[in-house]
């Protein structure tokens, strides 16, 4: 069936909506492109024949053209959806991607990610009258500047923004600025106390 491979690409994206970005399906994309080339070739021949005067190829041409456009739309949707997800990764993870995600991206995508990061960084730096504001820091407006956290593991000394050094020993409770703790909360060393 025409257009099946392209639909597979779309289904793959749909299935992985809530999970990890799947690996770049180079194989499938190549097959779709091959199908498109074959269709185009056939169309080309038929168009040449029609121009020469035979009118019975017209429906076939229209069908192939429609299918070519469908394949093109599917491919573009696939690529764009991946780019959107990679862009969200930048907001979630920051500048450096963890290796298990990096291996699922193809080279042009990695290059795109680097350029997007650079753009975002330049823009962030230009905000706040030149002093810069990290936009990816707080996605939701923070309820509190400080947060009470409990230490789950022995971490050792930790420097808070204002310069105070806190010793993170297991089972101690601390009240610290949110921005300093967020990283450790994500790592699992600290636990927020509601």
């Amino acid at each position: 069936m025409l257009g099946e491979k392209a639909l597979e690409l779309i289904k793959e994206m749909e299935r992985s909506k809530d999970g990890k970005l799947p690996a770049y399906n180079d194989n499938c994309v190549r097959l779709v492109l091959e199908e498109m080339t074959a269709l185009f070739q056939q169309n080309q021949d038929d168009v040449n024949a029609t121009v020469a005067g035979e009118a019975q190829y017209y429906p076939g041409i229209r069908l192939r053209h429609a299918s070519l456009e469908r394949n093109k739309r599917c491919l573009l949707a696939y690529l764009y959806n991946r780019l959107e997800r990679i862009r969200d990764l930048r907001w979630d993870f920051g500048n450096i991607l963890p290796p298990e995600i990096r291996e699922n991206l193809c080279d042009p995508e990695i290059e795109w990610f680097a350029r997007y990061s650079k753009n975002l960084a330049t823009y962030s730096r230009s905000l706040g009258e030149g002093s810069g504001l990290d936009l990816t820091h707080d996605i939701k407006p923070p309820k509190n500047i400080y947060v009470e956290v409990r230490c789950l593991k022995d971490y050792g000394e930790f420097e808070v923004e204002e310069g105070d050094v806190v010793v993170l020993q297991k089972n101690t409770t601390h009240y610290l600025p949110m921005s300093s703790c967020q990283h450790l909360i994500r790592l699992g060393v600290l636990q927020q106390v509601d």
Binding site: I145, Y146, E148, R150, D164, K170, N171, T172, Y175
Partner: protein, 598 residues
């Protein structure tokens, strides 16, 4: 950075004669808002909390206050003096303010912890007697408390600290003998010409030192408890107008813990109850007839008369009666006759036995409502004296009503859990969670644990009494939990051991025929199963039943006996009536105690 206390005349000994000795009431910080809270507003605070429920409640109140004022803090739980020292060394590098809650008041802090000069300690400790160096410290150690009568017994400054030798005059009116010189070499050197003077002064100094020794000994002989620290912190919150029902509930739990563990005197407890009750009525006003009802998920506290049966709302009536010290002792439930008396009591009140054996919440509503009245009617016949007490209970939304003592039981049992795989500090955090009103499942776990613990205590008391293992050793009664008892794991912690001891003593006094046993303290020892080294035991001493003020001289006695026998005793706990010994040293330790106390 810290303004010196304006109320106190500085006791700089290098000043000349016009030195006024500080009075105790000036040295204690009673205005917490001005002299404590306002000073720490821009600082980072290290809070060291003792492992007891009053301390946990006080620290939770303080945490709420600090959060509203964005005061950064770190809370570290400590159980013994060594842990205090370790925690201090680890955490106090960058802080300028250390707050000690329920620990460290009876220890000379400056000497033990060797702090840098600009570090300030605030001590809010309900243990008494407070160390004189802490009370009279000029500005490094500040004691937060309310003035009470026990402060009249603190030795006067001039009796304890020698005036400087640059002063020739005698400093005062005290009965401590002369002031005079101290023994700095330079001073004596100048006066070597006047031999007689020197001898006279030395004699006076010796007299003074003897007097001082005696005064300090009398002062530290009895250890007891002052007011609840949680209540102190609640009053601070009230003065700052930041109090709320939640904080009041925490203060109530702290105060109830002191009552349940027999730490506060009955007379004083009445006064604090009354003041708590005024707070309760202020924060929980009775809604007017047609006013809109308060939101149903808010906390409402009430003050009412309640039974002293442990956990009776979460257990069956019979079980609860059996495991509560007051009722069990009155009816002597560990004997066969006692069981019959219990059944008689229930039958006379008209409660069907089948229902009494079920969970309390499964009993008929009329029976539950009438229970208190029926028991009141029977108090004389069965001698149930201490069955009722006035206490507080809380309802939160549509949950069942919980009384303060339930919270205390549950939280304390979580604090001293018998299984040893979790570190003590995790247990501390669990106990703190149990008090959190948003986490009822932790409280439920605590209640179940407490039931097991009370059953174990009851079984042990029964063993003691059935086999007559409470022996009179002369000046005190003595009981041992045998090594290898499976229940011993429930007793290997200070609070549980104290509970077992109180129950045992009461039970013994009620069954023994000699009148003397009412006046004898009890010393109980149990194998310490939680300590990593084997063959250690915990020894706990409680004052006699006739001692109303709960003043305990066994702490000091333990210290002296350990000194005399050079036993490897671990006098580390802040509750000085509990010590850890190795089993070999135990018998000579007890011999030394017998000779000391007789």
């Amino acid at each position: 950075m810290f303004r010196s206390q304006t109320v106190v005349k500085q006791t700089n000994p290098r000043q000349a004669e016009e030195r006024l000795a500080p009075k105790v009431r000036d040295m204690l910080v009673t205005d917490l808002r001005a002299e404590f809270y306002n000073l720490i507003k821009s600082q980072r605070v290290l809070v060291l909390v003792h492992f007891d429920l009053d301390g946990i409640c006080a620290s939770k109140i303080l945490q709420v206050l600090f959060r509203t004022d964005h005061i950064l803090y770190t809370v570290v739980p400590v159980q013994t003096c060594t842990q205090l020292l370790e925690a201090f060394q680890q955490h106090a590098e960058q802080v300028k303010v250390v707050l000690l809650v329920n620990c460290g008041g009876c220890v000379d802090l400056v000497e033990a912890l060797q702090p840098p000069d600009d570090l300030v300690f605030f001590v809010a400790d309900n243990h008494r007697p407070l160390h004189v160096c802490n009370i009279y410290s000029a500005s490094q150690v500040r004691v937060l408390t309310q003035l009470g009568e026990e402060d009249e017994e603190v030795p006067a400054f001039e009796d304890v600290f020698r005036p400087d030798e640059s002063e020739e005059e005698n400093s005062s009116d005290d009965d401590g003998g002369g002031g005079g010189s101290d023994d700095e070499e330079g001073g004596r050197g100048k006066r070597r010409r006047f031999d007689e003077d020197v001898l006279e002064k030395r004699r006076q100094r010796r007299l003074w030192e003897q007097q001082r020794h005696k005064l300090l000994f009398d002062y530290t002989q009895f250890s007891f408890f002052g007011r609840s620290t949680a209540l102190l912190m609640f009053e601070l919150a009230w003065k700052l107008s930041k109090d709320s029902n939640d904080l009041l509930w925490l203060a109530i739990i702290g105060e109830t813990e002191m009552v349940l563990h027999e730490r506060s005197e009955p007379g004083k407890h009445l006064l604090t109850s009354a003041s708590l009750q005024t707070h309760v009525s202020r924060l929980n006003p009775k809604p007017a007839e047609d006013a809109p009802r308060p939101p149903s998920d808010s906390l409402r506290i009430t003050f009412e008369k309640d039974l002293t049966l442990a956990l009776y709302r979460h257990w069956s009536l019979v079980e609860s009666m059996r495991h509560s010290p007051h009722l069990a002792t009155a009816l002597r439930l560990w004997t066969l006759k006692g069981e019959k008396r219990l059944h008689e009591l229930l039958a006379e009140m008209g409660l069907p036995l089948a229902q009494c054996r079920q969970l309390y919440c499964g009993m008929d509503v009329e029976l539950r409502n009438g229970l208190q009245k029926m028991l009141e009617g029977k108090t004389d016949k069965y001698g149930l004296k201490n069955l009722f007490f006035m206490t507080f209970s809380a309802t939160l939304g549509f949950r069942a009503r919980m009384c303060a003592s339930d919270y205390v039981h549950a939280a304390v049992s979580l604090l001293e859990r018998p299984d040893s795989d979790e570190s003590p500090t995790t247990c501390f955090l669990d106990a703190a969670d149990a008090l959190d009103l948003t986490k009822p499942e932790v409280l439920g776990r605590g209640i179940e644990l407490r039931k097991q613990q009370l059953e174990a205590i009851y079984r042990q008391v029964q063993t003691f009494l059935d086999m007559n293992q409470v022996i009179c050793a002369g000046p005190f009664l003595y009981a041992t939990v045998v090594q290898g008892t499976p229940d011993a794991r429930f007793f290997a912690a200070p609070h549980s051991l104290n509970l077992l001891a109180t129950f045992t003593l009461r039970a013994h006094v009620s069954t023994s025929r000699s009148r003397k046993s009412r006046n004898l303290p009890l010393i109980l020892t149990t194998p310490d199963v939680k300590y990593p080294e084997p063959d250690h035991c915990l020894v706990c001493g409680i004052p006699p039943v006739s001692e109303e003020t709960h003043k305990n001289l066994l702490g000091k006695a333990f210290e002296q006996a350990a000194e005399k026998t050079n036993a490897k005793a671990d006098l580390d706990y802040f509750d000085t009536n509990v010590v850890r010994l190795s089993v070999e040293d135990r018998s000579k330790f007890f011999d030394a105690l017998i000779s000391l106390l007789s």
